[in-house]
């Protein structure tokens, strides 16, 4: 009798355990260096998506948990964390990393252990290895640098451009693409200069640009550099049209540069306007309620990436494993907050979308493509 009871009790315990286990998603990003703001708000966005999924019942009744880790933008840490996540069987998917320089080496580790990896890094080299477990649901740098060049050439009929980048992987990446696309389209690049990402004083470069009198100025880099650069550009009397990449899509750009200076600046971003898409409006409100501040530049991306993984988990059925999620991700056909999500053979978005916004007053207004 006692034996039967014991067996029944053990069976009860072991049967109950899996049903109560949490499903863990790992994420690694820069949380404590100069990019701390980007990493933290990015992961906050993911947390929001996960909170919503949990509120709606989780996955098969299991709760989702986000395991946040800090890679400090350092490939050494990124690879260590990748190994740590890999070794932990309860982690079935990761959203990592933020910096392309960290994603490239860590993707080797994730690939070895078959971990589904969704990344926010936009450098084209990230997908060069063709890993089947790696997915990038944002437009890569080829689009980010290419679209403004096309717009400048075709819509603005610009002939000359001065390009400045911040000597970082992202900034230099998009600036290089802009340069080659602009030149391929017949434009002439008057100067291609680098500044340090920590620079606050761009007067030397801007004074030089003033003598070139270009039609268009492109700045490849992040905040606060781009805001400060724009401010000093206008203060020194340069009236050329200004282009920047998605890290500048923030109210901070307008407050740092000043509304008068920022007016007319063009910024590329991968999502349609907040007000055109009710999902984005709701996202912004929910984020403010949950975290008591405005969403960061990449919060919407984080939300999207988590949502894509959750969608893949739902498709995986009863057993949520790493392989199932990879398969689920491969077959993603999902109308996300930032547009339709479907991946090609290399893990890139099939329909990457890029929008160009113009600064108007205290906000951004969609400029191109007009019909979205």
């Amino acid at each position: 009798m006692r034996i039967a009871l014991t067996i029944a009790a053990l069976a009860g315990i072991t049967a109950a355990a899996p049903a109560l286990a949490d499903i863990k998603i790992g994420t690694a990003g820069p949380l404590s260096n100069a990019e701390a703001l980007f990493g933290n708000t990015w992961q906050n966005g993911m947390q929001l998506a996960i909170n919503e999924a949990n509120a709606a019942g989780g996955i098969n009744g299991q709760k989702l948990v986000l395991v946040r880790q800090d890679d400090q933008g350092d490939p050494k840490q990124g690879t260590l964390l990748a190994q740590k996540f890999c070794d932990d069987d309860s982690i079935v998917a990761v959203i990592a990393d933020f910096n392309s320089g960290v994603t490239i080496p860590s993707s080797d580790v994730y690939n070895r252990c078959g971990m589904p990896q969704v990344t926010n890094s936009s450098n084209p080299k990230v997908t060069a290895a063709g890993y089947q477990n790696l997915f990038r649901p944002i437009a890569n740098d080829f689009m980010q640098g290419g679209a403004p060049a096309e717009y400048a050439l075709e819509t603005l009929h610009a002939k000359t451009a001065a390009i400045v980048h911040d000597k970082q992987a992202f900034g230099e990446g998009v600036a290089t693409v802009f340069r080659s696309d602009f030149e391929k389209g017949g434009g002439k690049v008057t100067s291609y200069s680098g500044v340090a990402a920590t620079d606050v004083d761009f007067s030397a470069v801007i004074t030089q640009i003033k003598t070139e009198n270009p039609d268009v100025v492109y700045y490849g880099g992040t905040m606060p550099g781009v805001g400060l650069f724009l401010k000093q550009l206008r203060e020194l009397g340069i009236k050329s049209r200004f282009f920047a990449a998605d890290p500048a899509f923030l109210p901070d750009l307008i407050t740092t540069a000043g509304p008068a200076n920022a007016a007319g600046a063009m910024v590329s971003f991968q999502a349609p306007p907040y007000d055109s898409n009710p999902k984005l409006v709701k996202f912004r409100q929910d984020y403010k309620k949950a975290f008591n501040e405005e969403p960061g530049p990449y919060s919407a991306y984080g939300y999207n990436e988590a949502a894509i993984i959750i969608e893949a988990m739902k498709k995986a059925g009863a057993k949520v494993t790493r392989e199932n999620i990879v398969k689920g991700l491969r077959d993603t056909k999902f109308d996300g907050m930032m547009g339709p999500v479907e991946f090609d053979a290399k893990g890139e978005l099939k329909q990457p979308s890029l929008y160009l916004y113009k600064v108007d007053g205290n906000g951004f207004v969609l400029e191109w493509p007009k019909s979205s």
């Binding site: 100069a34 291609y192 606050v200 007067s203 030397a204 004074t207 030089q208």
Partner: protein, 317 residues
């Protein structure tokens, strides 16, 4: 072309003035303790933040932009606050190590710098904070260059502060004690001077000046962020070496000299080399200046000529 050159010159003098103010802190501390105070760059950063919050408080009280008197009061308050911070740091982190090796206080200073930076990052703000302009934005056209009132103010204010410091160190008793202690601490003690007073005073004035530089810098560029101290501090340190570390007029001259070297280097190099060497080489330029000065003329402009024996006065470890 004249407009280009004049513009670069104005930019150079403005940033040079800021470097000079910060360099004073490095040079005074080194002159007395032979210590490279790595934490000094963070005094600059903290000063900018203190100024930010004081200005914000003033704005919320008066409901409008601060008047000249209020701005002046904020300057004084920031100077005192950060000065006291400097004195506190010296008493806790440097004084116990005064007899120890050369490496120990330097590492302690590094530790303090890391602590300050992270405390501000974690408990004040990760985001860069937009610093309100407290100067009227007026600009003048000088030979084709745009010169703002802000720039003129920074340069003149910095020069005034440095002249004031020079007078203080030469004409007042306390100032003379500081110079005595810089010259030779042991002998000053023999003469009955309590070295702790001048040393604490140095750690009050130096960081205070750095803090003022922080407010000037923040007002000029419109931004304060926890990471702003490191690079500017390093450049100011190079300026102090260039001018001759331990020499106050040296720090002044070194600051302006570095500003000019950096700006013209960054602005003209691309032109001269047709883009082969771009303005991103500006930092390498500054470091190369440092290395070259130390190798060929370690005394800088005004430092006493340093012989090999002169460099050794304390064991290394």
């Amino acid at each position: 072309m004249t407009g280009f050159l004049v513009q670069q010159l104005v930019n150079a003098l403005t940033i040079g003035a800021i470097y000079a103010l910060i360099a004073l802190g490095y040079t005074m501390v080194y002159g007395v303790l032979r210590l490279i105070n790595f934490a000094h760059s963070e005094m600059f950063m903290v000063g900018g933040h203190v100024g930010f919050f004081l200005l914000a408080a003033a704005a919320s009280l008066t409901g409008g932009p601060a008047s000249v008197l209020v701005v002046f009061a904020i300057f004084v308050a920031t100077f005192i606050a950060v000065g006291l911070l400097g004195v506190g740091i010296e008493a806790t982190a440097y004084r116990p190590l005064r007899g120890a090796s050369r490496l120990a206080p330097m590492l302690s200073a590094l530790g303090v710098a890391i602590i300050l930076q992270n405390v501000v990052m974690l408990f004040v703000s990760r985001r860069p904070l937009p610093f309100p302009a407290f100067m009227l934005s007026m600009s003048f056209d000088v030979f084709g260059a745009v010169v703002t009132l802000n720039q003129i103010f920074i340069v003149l204010f910095a020069i005034a502060l440095m002249v004031g410091l020079g007078w203080f160190v030469n004409a007042t008793t306390l100032g003379i004690k500081i110079r005595a202690v810089s010259e030779n601490m042991r002998t000053a003690q023999l003469l009955g001077i309590n070295v702790n007073t001048p040393i604490s005073l140095i750690f009050f004035i130096g960081p205070g000046l750095g803090a003022l530089a922080g407010i000037l810098y923040a007002g000029y560029y419109g931004i304060v962020v926890f990471s702003m101290g490191f690079i500017v501090g390093l450049k100011a340190f190079i300026a102090a070496i260039l001018g001759g570390i331990g020499s106050i007029p040296g720090a002044m001259l070194g600051g302006f000299a570095l500003g000019i070297l950096e700006t013209f280097g960054g602005g003209l190099l691309p032109r001269l080399t047709h883009g082969a060497i771009g303005s991103e080489y500006r930092d390498i330029f500054a470091f190369s200046v440092l290395v070259l000065v130390l190798i060929f003329r370690p005394a800088g402009f005004f430092g006493e000529s340093v012989t090999e024996e002169g460099m050794v006065y304390k064991r290394d470890f």
